[in-house]
């Protein structure tokens, strides 16, 4: 009897494994191989005449000089600022996404009722327009004589000659929030929508106010969604380099890690430095991902108990 059950289980595992195969092959081809290629560039060399990358595919011949140089510049050197600045921009933008995105996700998931479909379409709508186009549109809106200043001029107490595109951190953060908030709302919406309404009702029945029900029931149950949404927005924001470029017209005050990667990989004779920065950024993000996975697994275990 036991043997039959086990073999049946095995067969179904094999079936699922077959289904997973194309995805796994895809990941291997486009993730593992490309990461390996980045390593081959980072630890490779450069053609002395053409200044083009000569990747070193053999790990035994890797040259770590560029990585050492990058580590020196990051820990205790000038590139350290750029990592800190990138972290600060991303952190502020994440905070902005939570402030803007959470209420929207909550409303659509729990209060919108029959308008939900329409609102979801509205949330997906920005994806129809290229991110770059949307940033260029912001650059226009924020010009000294742009619509933002014109609208502000109707309000009292506002300096209507405010220059937004002069390399100020808040303009970049606004741009990042605007650009990534849809990515934040959707996973959060999915979690909030799945919260069992009876739990909330139970909270109310037991005498909690609606605010206190939110704080003690809804908010804790939405943490996994909040975490997933944060990860999904943090990862691409850390590599962003066009939002700040367009919204500060290339001010050194808003330089992010992504700009340095772009410069070294595309426009210099030191692609190894660019690739090393990519690996370093990945290492930072990897730590973040592991933390996220640990938390998620812990929560799942707690829920199963």
């Amino acid at each position: 009897m036991t043997a039959v059950v086990t073999s049946g289980k095995r067969r179904s595992t094999a079936v699922w494994a077959t289904f997973a195969l194309p995805g796994v092959a895809w990941l291997v081809a486009f993730f593992l191989v490309s990461v390996y290629a980045v390593m081959a560039v980072a630890f490779g060399s450069v053609d002395p005449l053409l200044r083009t990358t000569v990747p070193q595919w053999n790990p035994l011949q890797w040259d770590y000089a560029a990585m050492r140089n990058v580590l020196d510049r990051v820990f205790g050197g000038d590139l350290g600022h750029v990592f800190v600045r990138t972290g600060a921009f991303v952190g502020s933008a994440l905070l902005g996404c939570i402030v803007v995105g959470y209420p929207v996700a909550y409303f659509v998931a729990r209060k919108a009722h029959r308008h939900r479909g329409l609102l979801l379409v509205a949330l997906v709508l920005p994806f129809w327009i290229s991110y770059l186009m949307r940033m260029l549109a912001w650059a226009n809106l924020l010009q000294p004589d742009g619509y933002v200043n014109r609208i502000l001029s109707w309000l009292p107490f506002f300096d209507t000659h405010r220059t937004w595109l002069d390399g100020d951190w808040y303009t970049v953060v606004i741009g990042l929030v605007y650009g990534y908030v849809p990515f934040f709302i959707l996973p959060l919406y999915a979690t909030l929508e799945r919260i069992d309404g009876r739990l909330i009702e139970a909270g109310r029945d037991l005498g909690a106010s609606s605010f206190s029900t939110f704080v003690h029931v809804t908010l804790p149950l939405s943490i996994p969604g909040l975490m997933a949404a944060s990860v999904i927005t943090i990862l691409p924001m850390c590599g962003d380099y066009y939002t700040n470029t367009y919204l500060s017209r290339g001010s050194p005050r808003t330089e992010m890690v992504g700009n340095q990667i772009d410069y070294f990989l595309r426009n210099s004779s030191q692609p190894q430095t660019g690739a090393s920065l990519v690996l370093l950024l990945m290492a930072f993000l990897f730590v973040l991902m592991v933390y996220y996975l640990v938390i998620t697994v812990r929560q799942q275990r707690a829920a199963e108990r």
């Binding site: 191989v33 595919w57 000038d78 004779s269």
Partner: protein, 389 residues
């Protein structure tokens, strides 16, 4: 479910096999950088191929009308692959990512490397009936002896573009490069070119140093310090948008290429703003950096004859004039000098100095190719500047 040690080993082996198979494949993608110089041009009198003619070029760096005219005249189609930097073009060409006939915009300092590595073929001048239209300065340029592999496309000097309605032209003339450092009243409206050599060399020229190919660490460090000063004093921007930002008024003074004010006057002035608001200053001959882009034919071009005909077409005075009216970037043709372009109304009289004279070209400072170590000094300094100092 925990996997057994044997499973783990089996998977590792499978992974190893997969990676093992991948490496030679990846190696193949690396491209072949060890080609040798091509020294024989195509034969005389060949019939043009059927195309399509494939061109590598920057975006918007040739008039679409000129391309359409060429297609009509020769009954072929033209495909343009857009690149954003000179080094991107080299990388893509050398890795085989782009197959092309014509490389439309090769920087001076890249010509030699492309020739040495066998990526350009010598031109057969019997096809270039309009070669005589080119300025004599380019008959034997330093980067391509005897103009064997390239013809010049456009040329330009590096100077300051500024708003004459906000800064007194007499002040800019008196201050020179210092005008950029003195623009403290225009914070956020000041920019330098997004190019490490242009910007750092500007800082050197400001201090009277004219060795624009120096690899002296102390000189580069000083230039970096001078540029960093601009971050706080004038909230400097780093971009190549001067041609648009000056006419639109978001910029007041900017390091630009001499073609930028002309392009700006032709294409970017808002309605009601006269061209007189745009000004240009450049250093005197002998301290003036002048550069040009070049057209060449890729060594493994599928359409080499057609490529010759295309280059010849561009060297025609009338075609070149049409191209200029779109681009604003000066073609290196004798006929299209300052007097002619001003007479035709393309260039406002007060921007006459945007057209480098023959003497200025002859005495120009030029960016020569640097060793990788030399370049790295500039690149690292530039990376530091862009981090905010």
């Amino acid at each position: 479910m925990r996997s057994s040690r044997r499973d783990f080993l089996a998977r590792s082996v499978q992974m190893g096999v997969l990676l093992g198979a991948g490496v030679p494949l990846l190696q193949a993608c690396g491209g072949d950088t060890q080609r040798t110089k091509v020294s024989k041009p195509i034969a005389d009198g060949l019939q043009p191929e059927k195309g399509p003619l494939r061109i590598i070029n920057y975006d918007d760096y040739v008039s679409p009308d000129v391309i359409a005219d060429f297609e009509r005249e020769y009954g072929v189609s033209v495909e343009i692959t857009i690149i954003t930097t000179d080094s991107e073009a080299t990388t893509k060409l050398a890795s085989g990512a782009i197959q092309a006939d014509v490389h439309h915009s090769i920087a001076n300092y890249t010509v030699g490397a492309l020739v040495e590595r066998g990526w350009l073929q010598p031109l057969n001048k019997s096809y270039l009936t309009n070669r005589g239209n080119v300025l004599a300065n380019f008959d034997d340029p330093w980067y391509d002896a005897g103009s064997t592999y390239t013809v010049p496309y456009t040329f330009f000097g590096t100077g300051l573009g500024y708003r004459r309605d906000r800064i007194d032209p007499a002040d800019v003339e008196a201050d020179g490069w210092d005008a950029l450092w003195n623009a403290t009243g225009f914070k956020g409206q000041v920019s330098v070119l997004d190019d490490e050599r242009e910007a750092l060399v500007m800082a050197m020229l400001r201090r009277g140093l004219t060795d624009v190919n120096t690899t002296d660490q102390a000189v580069i460090d000083q230039a970096l310090a001078d540029l960093v000063e601009l971050i706080d004093s004038v909230n400097v921007k780093v971009n190549i948008q001067g041609y648009q930002d000056l006419p639109e008024g978001t910029s007041t003074i900017a390091q630009v290429w001499s073609a930028d004010p002309v392009t700006g006057a032709i294409n970017y002035l808002p309605e009601g703003v006269p061209a007189e608001v745009l000004g240009f200053w450049h250093p005197p001959a002998g301290e003036y950096v002048v550069a040009n882009d070049n057209i060449g034919i890729v060594s493994n071009a599928a359409n080499p004859v057609l490529a010759h005909l295309y280059i010849d077409y561009l060297l025609d005075n009338a075609v070149s004039e049409k191209n200029f009216s779109y681009l604003g970037y000066l073609p290196a043709l004798t006929k299209l000098d300052a007097d002619y372009l001003i007479g035709q109304g393309y260039v406002p009289e007060h921007l006459r100095n945007c057209v480098p004279t023959s003497e200025e070209i002859a005495q120009a400072l030029v960016f020569k190719p640097l060793s990788n170590e030399g370049r790295a000094l500039y690149e690292t300094a530039w990376s530091k500047f862009k981090t905010g100092g």
